[in-house]
Structures are given as C-alpha cells and as structure tokens.
C-alpha cells in the first residue's frame, strides 16, 4: 500500500488511533489500540506498525490530535479534536449540522456550517457522566459485555429511572435497584437515557442544527443513537468508522498542509 499521502494520529484517553489517507482524502489504513500509560512508547510502536503496513517508512506528514497530542514528538503539527472531528465529519458525510462526539472521557458537541467550518462547540470535560466511561463503569457492575450493552438496553420493555447523573452515585443506585429486584435490561435502558439526556442538554447549549451526527466509540452502541433520536426528534447519522473520526480529520489536515484538498464523500 503506497498511495498514502498523509497521516493522522488521535491519542485519546481510552484508545489511540492512526489513520492514513490517500489522495482525495479517502481513508485507506487505520490502526486502533487501547491507550497505554506509557503513551510515547506506544506511539512509536504504532507508528512502526503503520510504516510496516503501508510501506511508507516516514509516516509523514503527520498531524496529532486528542488529549495526548503534545506527546507525539513525530508530528508535524498538533491540532485540537474540535477541528479534526469537524474535518473528518465533513469529509465522511459531506454536510454540516450538529456533531455529537462521545469519547471515553469527554463528550463534545460541534456545530458545523454548510462547508464544514466550526461555528460553535461545547465540551463536557469535567464530569464522567455523559461520556463512554459512564456506560463502561456501569456495565461492569451489571455483568454485561460492553459490546452488547446497547442491544440489551434496546431489548428492554420497561425502563428504570435513574435519578443520579453522577457516575459514582449511579453505581450505588444500580446496586439498590438490583436489590429491589429490578431487571438488568430496564436498568440499562435507564442508564442510556441518563447519558443521552446529558448529551441533549449540551446540544442545546450550542443549538441543534440538523442533521444530527454521532461519533466516538459510543456511536457503535445502537441504543445511544436510538434514544438520541427519541429525545431530539431528529434522525441520527453515524459516519463510517465513528471512532476514527478524530484521527481521520487529523490526516485530512495533514493532507491540506501539503496543498491537497480532500474530495467529497
């Protein structure tokens, strides 16, 4: 694979991703690993993997994003996730709107103009509720596999009400619901609802301009998208590879830096 023109790396709190794009901005290679404490070593190793897989020994131009972006010494430039997600979403879907990105440890809402430009954004980086960590923590408590979480929640006929919006207190509330004989499915559905309601509040701080887009690892969970639709009355569009959107956007910024324009989806 030698057609790769630019690279992006997203060093997130849960996962680290690398994306390579070819001319026109088509994604043609991607790697994803759980983030490790020794980020710098992991970055070197992943870049070597990328080089081996692509045959491009330099892995340049490279743009870094994510919370750990400054740790990527090999990067030609560092750019925030807001810009990268916006680029990625516009290239993947070809329109503006409102992008909700739910990451492992933060969530953000970005309002995109018709040309994909960032008009406004809001970030929740203060509280684990409203992030992937909220579900991750609670699914452990319920003994349900993370990958099946959404599916199980959607299968529920009833829904438990969770009054806590705090991740830590939600856990103790779950324990007490279980003790009262409430089933796992209704609790899971209630949990998803609590998460989505936090997201909706954040969407309203920037204002909802349809279409509504969803990205981040949590976008692979079907219950989040369905409940988001129910709460907002809008159809939710999920781009291909929602978890890679930041790294993809970073690669597109890198592509632009060498004078190439990403094409249309």
């Amino acid at each position: 694979m030698t057609g790769i023109r630019a690279w992006g790396i997203d060093v997130g709190s849960s996962t680290t991703k690398i994306v390579g794009v070819e001319a026109g901005g088509t994604m043609c290679l991607h790697l994803l690993e759980d983030s490790e404490p020794r980020a710098e070593e992991q970055i070197v190793r992943m870049l070597q993997r990328a080089a081996a897989a692509s045959g491009d020994q330099r892995v340049r131009p490279l743009v870094a994003t994510g919370y750990g972006r400054k740790l990527v010494q090999q990067a030609d430039r560092v750019v925030t996730e807001i810009t990268c997600h916006a680029r990625g979403a516009y290239r993947a879907l070809g329109h503006g709107g409102t992008l909700v990105d739910v990451g492992g440890q933060d969530s953000k809402v970005i309002k995109l103009g018709p040309q994909g430009e960032v008009l406004d954004f809001a970030m929740n980086d203060k509280c684990a509720a409203g992030t992937g960590r909220f579900l991750e923590n609670t699914c452990r408590r319920l003994g349900v596999d993370l990958e099946r979480l959404g599916e199980v929640a959607l299968a529920a006929r009833d829904e438990a009400t969770l009054s806590s919006t705090c991740t830590v207190f939600a856990e103790s509330e779950i324990v007490s619901l279980l003790a009262h004989g409430v089933g796992v499915e209704p609790i899971l559905k209630g949990l998803h609802r609590a998460l989505v309601q936090r997201l909706v509040a954040m969407i309203h701080t920037v204002g909802l301009t349809p279409p509504l887009m969803l990205s981040g690892g949590v976008a692979r969970n079907p219950a989040v998208a369905r409940l988001l639709e129910a709460e907002t009355g809008e159809t939710v569009v999920v781009p291909p590879h929602p978890q890679l959107l930041g790294a993809f956007g970073a690669a597109l910024v890198a592509l632009e830096s060498v004078g190439e324009r990403p094409g249309k989806p």
Binding site: Y67, V79, T80, E81, I82, T83, E117, V118, L119, D120, F121, M123, D125, K126, T205, G207
Partner: protein, 442 residues
C-alpha cells in the same frame, strides 16, 4: 524598650524599606531598559511603568505592616466610597486585593483550607476564604496585615461581602459600617435609591469621625474626589487606547496595573502613575508595538482574572496570536469616572457606588460587551465562569448565545476560579482555548 521598637519600625517603614524598594525598582528598570530578563516568544515585555506600580503596591503593604502604630486602619470592600476614609486619614486595606495577591503568589489554596477547616464552606467566594484563612492562621505574603479599627462594606458587588464582613466584625470585635446599595434593575437608579444611599453615607460620617479621631474636612474630601476622578479618567483613557491595532496594553497587564486605581485612588501619586502610563502607551502606539507580538485575534475577557495563572493564560493566547484587548472587569474601574463630582461629594458618591457592573442587571453587562466588541474591533469573547463569583458569572450561558447570535462573534466559556486553583484544570483550559483559536482562524 518600646521606644526602641518604635524607632526600629519607623526606620524600616519610612527609610530602609522604601530605599530598598527604590533600589529594587532601579534594578528592574535597568534590566527592562537593557531588554534582559524577558523571555517570551509571543508577548512584548511589560510596560516600563509596571515596575513603578509594583513599587507603589509594595510600599503600601510595607507601610501597612506598621500602620497600627500611628494610624487608624480600615478594611474596606473594593467598590465602597473610599474617598471618605481617605479624607479622614485612614490607612486602607482591601481584603479582596490582599486575596488577589495571595492568589497570584499561589498561597490562596493553603489559606482557604484554613478557613475550610474552621467550618467555612468551599462554596463561599475564594476571596472570603483566603481572607478568613489568613486571619485565622496569621499567614500572609505581604509580611503583616494591619488589624482594622473599622470595617467598611458596600453591598454593590455581592451579598457575600455582607456576611464576610459580619464574620470579621464578630471575630475582631470592631465596628462595621455597612452601605446598602439597592440593585439597579433598569437603565437608571430611581432617585429614592440615590437618596437612600446618600443618607447612609452621610449618617456614617459621625461614626467614621469618631473612630478616626478627627472631623471630616470638606476641602480634603473634594480634593480626594478630584484625584479619584482624575485617576479613573486616566485609567479609562489608557484602556481605550486599545482601540488601536495592535493593542498596546494587554488585559493581562491591566489586571496587575489596575491595583493603584482600586486601592490608592484619591492619592496624588496614583494620578501621576497613570499619567506616566498613558504616555508610555502612546509611545507604544507611535512605534506600532503591540502587547502580543503577532496580533491576529482580538478578544474580550469577562469576569475576574485567574490570578494564579495570569502569565500562562497570556502565553497560551499569545501563542495563537490572540490578544486580550478589553475586559468588563478592568473597565469597571474606569467607567464610573464621570459620575464623580467633587463639588457634590455625597450625592455623587451615592450615584457612583450604585452603578458598579455587579450592581446592575445582566442585560447591562451584555450591552457593555456588545459595545466593546464594536469599539475595540473584537473577534472573540472569553467568558471566565468563576466558580466563586456568582454575581459575575450568572447569565453567562445566555450571554454567550446572544453574543454569538446577535453579533456573530463567537464566545467561549472557561470554567475556573479566580483564587482557588483546585477548580482549574490546565489541560482542559488549554484544550478549549486552542480549539477556540482554531475556530477563529478558519
């Protein structure tokens, strides 16, 4: 023995200390002149007068160490009718300014913990906690705080001060004079509110005279009013010079350079200081020097500074070519200059101290920000959501939306606290600011 001690204190406060501070200033001026000691790729060095301002503030606190020996001391809230106290010869201490010094010296959290351990809630304003903590522990970065003979509080900034000063009065067993200023909901304060405040100021005079041990001279009061107005006018002019591009004096510098107009207004040296500053700022304009070396974005700052991160915030913004050009906070110390009328001191004090920004509706602040956006050609707004200062932070979410909608200028909310660094997350603030600047760059 006591006489010897007095002599020693006198020598330190009046001779040795000021001389040492002067030598320090000369050293700083020499270094500034040679251009050494300043390392920033993005920011111009601070104004030359900054070293003079620093010396003024240091002298004030030095004199404060020994003030209890021969002067009456008043502790006072930042927007109270200080002119009265100046005219009566009080040595004046602003616990809020002292709090800011503790914040900048990064000891505010330690002191707050002292207050928290004594049972004061962390939800209280961090200035109040810093002050109470300093009182309980006796620790302060200014050497020694003179104890008050009088507490003088005005409710025109918040209700916190009301309870904070009551605690002080209880702890220190000193009289508290409280000026209650009704909230100004609309454009102008009703005349009965002005009359109400005026009456309180007038009736406070005998109490103040009794503590001061002298009577209030009208000539002195008028002179103080005149000096106060002049200083505030000059300060306003300096800030308005930032309509020039590039802006000659960053808001971050204004945050520290405003100390004299807050705590020494009414003194001749303060007027001289700001006159010199204005000359220097004009010099920068003539030479085309900006506070940020490569100014590409011009921003507004709303709310108090983050005292313990001033330089970092300036660098972070400067790296993205963003200059803080105007702020509602520093503006508050200049915008009332026209209301001070030395010929009608009581009535004009009543009006002046009814109109601080925090004693007015949120609509007024929004209007002020809109005007600043035009006046200073701004392209972004940073709203510091200050966990401590509720009256300043309330309504910021709506203000953010309305600014974006009505002026097209984007605004960013930054959650922090002016003194309590436990409410500040470096990585998150840096991330938001970087993302905001990228948005401006589109």
């Amino acid at each position: 023995m006591k006489a010897l001690g007095d002599l020693r204190d006198y020598a330190v406060a009046r001779v040795v200390g000021p001389a040492a501070l002067r030598v320090q200033r000369w050293g700083n001026q020499w270094r500034a002149w040679r251009g050494s000691g300043w390392e920033s790729a993005y920011l111009a060095p601070p104004l030359g007068v900054a070293v003079r301002g620093k010396e003024m503030v240091a002298r004030h606190w030095l004199a404060g160490r020994y003030a209890n020996r021969d002067r009456k001391v008043a502790w006072i809230t930042s927007a109270a009718p200080v002119e009265l106290l100046h005219a009566l010869g009080f040595f004046i201490v602003y616990p809020e300014n002292h709090g800011a010094i503790c914040g900048a010296a990064r000891v505010a959290v330690d002191l707050s913990c002292e207050a928290e351990n004594a049972g004061y809630s962390r939800d209280l304003c961090s200035y109040a906690r810093t002050d109470l903590g300093s009182l309980f522990s006796g620790r302060t970065p200014v050497g020694r705080l003179p104890m008050p003979d009088l507490l003088f509080a005005c409710t025109n900034i918040c209700q916190t001060v009301l309870f904070w000063y009551r605690v002080l009065a209880h702890q220190l067993r000193v009289p508290l004079v409280l000026i209650d200023t009704p909230f100004v909901y609309f454009e102008t304060a009703p005349e009965h509110a002005v009359a109400y405040v005026q009456r309180q100021i007038e009736t406070s005079v005998p109490v103040l005279e009794k503590i001061a041990g002298r009577s209030l001279g009208m000539a002195k009061l008028k002179e103080t009013g005149t000096l106060s107005r002049e200083a505030a006018h000059l300060w306003m002019e300096i800030m308005q010079r930032n309509a020039h591009q590039p802006a000659p004096i960053s808001v971050v510098d204004q945050f520290t350079l405003m100390a004299p107009v807050v705590e020494m207004r009414g003194e001749p040296a303060t007027v001289d200081f700001y006159a010199a500053m204005l000359r220097e700022v004009d010099g920068r304009i003539a030479e085309g020097v900006g506070a940020v070396k490569d100014e590409r974005h011009r921003l507004l700052w709303d709310n108090l500074p983050i005292w313990y991160r001033l330089k970092d915030v300036a660098e972070m913004l400067g790296a993205g070519g963003a200059a803080l050009v105007a702020s509602t906070y520093t503006n508050a110390w200049g915008e009332l200059a026209d209301l001070i009328d030395p010929e009608e001191p009581f009535e004009s004090m009543a009006r002046t101290y009814l109109y601080p920004i925090l004693n007015r509706g949120t609509g007024h602040k929004l209007k002020t920000m809109r005007r600043m956006i035009d006046q200073y050609s701004l392209d972004g707004v940073l709203l510091h959501s200050d966990r401590s200062c509720k009256p300043y932070s309330i309504g910021q979410l709506d203000q953010r939306d309305r600014l974006a909608r009505e002026t097209g200028v984007p605004a960013l909310l930054l959650e922090a606290d002016h003194n309590d660094s436990r409410c500040y997350s470096e990585a998150q603030v840096a991330n938001r600011v970087a993302a905001f600047i990228e948005t401006l760059e589109r």
